[in-house]
């Protein structure tokens, strides 16, 4: 099995507690099922992105090969493996939102924050993650998600109000 090098990062007590909670939901020996939830809490505690050290720490704690953690982090869109802004903004531009003016929302946010989609603001506050695929709020289009909170029936004015209130 993989040689365990000395870690420079340790998982927080909070992260361990959350991971233990999830591991308990699966049968004995199936702790790999908790990898997604473990990465979620660790990414959240690290202000929005994962590092190789954190992924290794998760693998070691759950006791799965590290590659199994890397491949999950690479596969799922919620995980970021490069430094980025803390608050993740995802504007849905899929069909229902496209028909209700999502392009105007994307353009407005890019202008307001001075970044393009895929970039973070220099102060590290916002990450305009991507033109998001459907987030299942189609009847309230256009919409966006910031850190998992949905904002629906958007207009440029509403977007200003929402972004201005985020600390």
């Amino acid at each position: 099995m993989n040689e365990k090098t000395t870690r420079t990062v340790a998982l927080s007590d909070h992260a361990r507690e959350v991971i233990d909670h999830w591991v308990a939901k699966f049968p004995e020996g199936r702790q790999r099922s908790a990898v997604i939830e473990a990465l979620r809490v660790v990414q959240h505690d690290n202000k929005g992105y994962l590092t190789a050290d954190l992924m290794d720490a998760v693998a070691d704690y759950i006791d799965v090969p590290r590659i199994q953690v890397y491949e999950v982090a690479a596969f799922y869109s919620i995980f970021e493996t490069e430094p980025c802004g803390e608050h993740h903004i995802s504007v849905c531009t899929n069909i229902s939102c496209h028909l209700r003016g999502s392009q105007e929302i994307v353009d407005h946010i890019e202008k307001k924050l001075g970044v393009k989609t895929g970039e973070s603001t220099p102060d590290g506050k916002f990450f305009l993650k991507r033109e998001e695929e459907c987030l299942a709020a189609c009847v309230n289009a256009p919409m966006m998600m910031i850190d998992h909170v949905y904002y629906e029936h958007l207009t440029p004015e509403k977007v200003d109000d929402i972004l201005d209130k985020i600390e």
């Binding site: 939901k25 099922s33 979620r40 799922y76 899929n94 069909i95 028909l99 299942a136 189609c138 289009a141």
Partner: protein, 436 residues
């Protein structure tokens, strides 16, 4: 039939009650009565499966497979662990009603999963909820689960009945492909959600290699009502072969977009009227009647159509998830298809070459047309690439990527041809119809 009088009869039944997501609200409409009958031995596993079969319930996740038949495939009496898994990974573009079931009627899903588990000999269930639902639907479902445990409705030897059923929640992390049932099982095992080759089917080799049935949220949440009101009542709501109600997620260019739970088979013009008609007084152009994967239908075709499995299939499309995406006369069909093709390109898991490579080709060629660099042979090439993906992949994502391309070009070829001939200019702009 007055369709409006038959709104919210199944999974949306408690809507309008104060705190409709609580156990008290759910019990006030007869919730958990069926589960209590199971616990007291009045309802056997065979009875349940027979009633679900008689109700005509079909899978609401898109494929429309008969639910009772699916349940009967489980080797119920075989030794060893078996699982019931709910697919709350709602992500088919245009579809947003499972989110409302989770937010406003989570107990119907819990009861449905418990009953399904019992009927199939599964003592453990997982509800796989998409990761983006983390802030609102997830805590709602979690708190309902807690209430159900505290009320003694779940657990080991429930109320001394000798029946065990433990239900857990699982939260995904953003991948459309995990809505495919074997991709979902891979994800539940902590892996990338790459679909498995079938056979073996999950009923024989599912979660952790154990017999498993995966059903959609709305399918499972319909079960308690079916048992409470009777399979005949449910079947009679819709036409033959399309029993019950559908939640139509109507989005796009209508005055009142929304989730409407209405009897199956409602004529499209009636549905459109309930949604306030086409917005801004404009004309209907086209409708995608069942989520982005199903073929697009010209407005004049769907205006003659009823909204159920068989009618839409006969008209060349499908009910799919019941996501009805309405487009008015200002819609550029080339740009619409570009957005759809981008989705499948982004969400292809990459394990099958025709899908991994083909979805990229489709998207790049459509973008070339939009950029004014289209060639006259591009339309035939798009159809050819789509035909080479369709039917040549492990899962249905490949088919789902192909069908919009085939149907958009079949019905709106002139719009694509116009754009190619006019250096990227859209026909709707030329007609002066473009939206402001």
């Amino acid at each position: 039939m007055n369709y409006r009088e038959n709104e919210n009869l199944v999974a949306f039944a408690p809507f309008g009650l104060e705190n409709s997501w609580t156990l008290d609200a759910y019990r006030s409409i007869g919730g958990y009565q069926s589960w209590q009958q199971v616990l007291s031995g009045e309802l056997s596993a065979d009875d349940i499966i027979d009633k679900v079969k008689a109700s005509g319930l079909r899978g609401r996740g898109g494929a429309g497979f008969p639910t009772g038949l699916k349940w009967s495939f489980m080797p119920r009496n075989a030794p060893g662990q078996k699982y019931i898994v709910c697919n709350s990974d709602e992500s088919e573009p245009g579809t947003c009603h499972d989110r409302d079931i989770l937010r406003y009627n989570p107990h119907a899903l819990i009861e449905g999963m418990a009953i399904a588990g019992y009927a199939m000999g599964a003592t453990v269930g997982y509800n796989y909820i998409r990761g983006e639902f983390f802030a609102e639907p997830v805590p709602r479902f979690e708190s309902a689960l807690r209430e159900a445990y505290e009320a003694g409705l779940l657990g080991q030897n429930i109320n001394g009945s000798g029946i065990d059923f433990d239900l857990h929640m699982f939260v995904g992390a953003g991948a459309y492909i995990c809505g495919e049932e074997t991709g979902l099982l891979e994800s539940l095992e902590g892996k990338p959600g790459r679909p498995r080759f079938k056979p073996p089917f999950p009923a024989n080799y599912g979660l952790y290699g154990k017999p498993t049935t995966v059903n959609n949220t709305y399918t499972l949440a319909s079960v308690p009502t079916i048992l409470r009101k009777g399979p005949e009542w449910f079947a009679a709501l819709g036409p033959e072969k399309s029993g019950g109600a559908a939640i139509y997620s109507v989005s796009g260019h209508v005055e009142k977009p929304g989730n409407y739970e209405l009897p199956m088979g409602i004529p499209f013009p009636d549905l459109l009227e309930i949604c306030g008609g086409i917005w801004k007084g404009r004309k209907l152009k086209a409708v995608i009647p069942g989520g982005s994967s199903v073929p697009v239908m010209p407005g004049e075709v769907i205006m003659e159509c009823n909204m159920d499995y068989e009618s839409l299939r006969e008209a060349g499309s499908a009910l799919g998830t019941g996501a009805v995406v309405v487009m008015d006369e200002t819609t550029c069909m080339v740009r619409m298809l570009e957005r759809i093709s981008r989705f499948y390109y982004a969400e292809s898991c990459g394990q099958c070459t025709p899908c991994r490579e083909g979805t990229g080709w489709l998207n790049r060629v459509i973008n070339r047309v939009i950029d004014g660099k289209g060639r006259s042979e591009d339309l035939d090439m798009l159809v050819e690439v789509a035909n080479k993906i369709e039917g040549h992949t492990i899962c249905a994502l490949g088919d789902a990527a192909a069908w919009p391309v085939q149907s958009f070009i079949k019905h709106y070829r002139h719009e694509f041809a116009y754009m190619i001939e006019h250096g990227g200019r859209s026909i709707v702009e030329a007609d002066g119809k473009a939206a402001a």
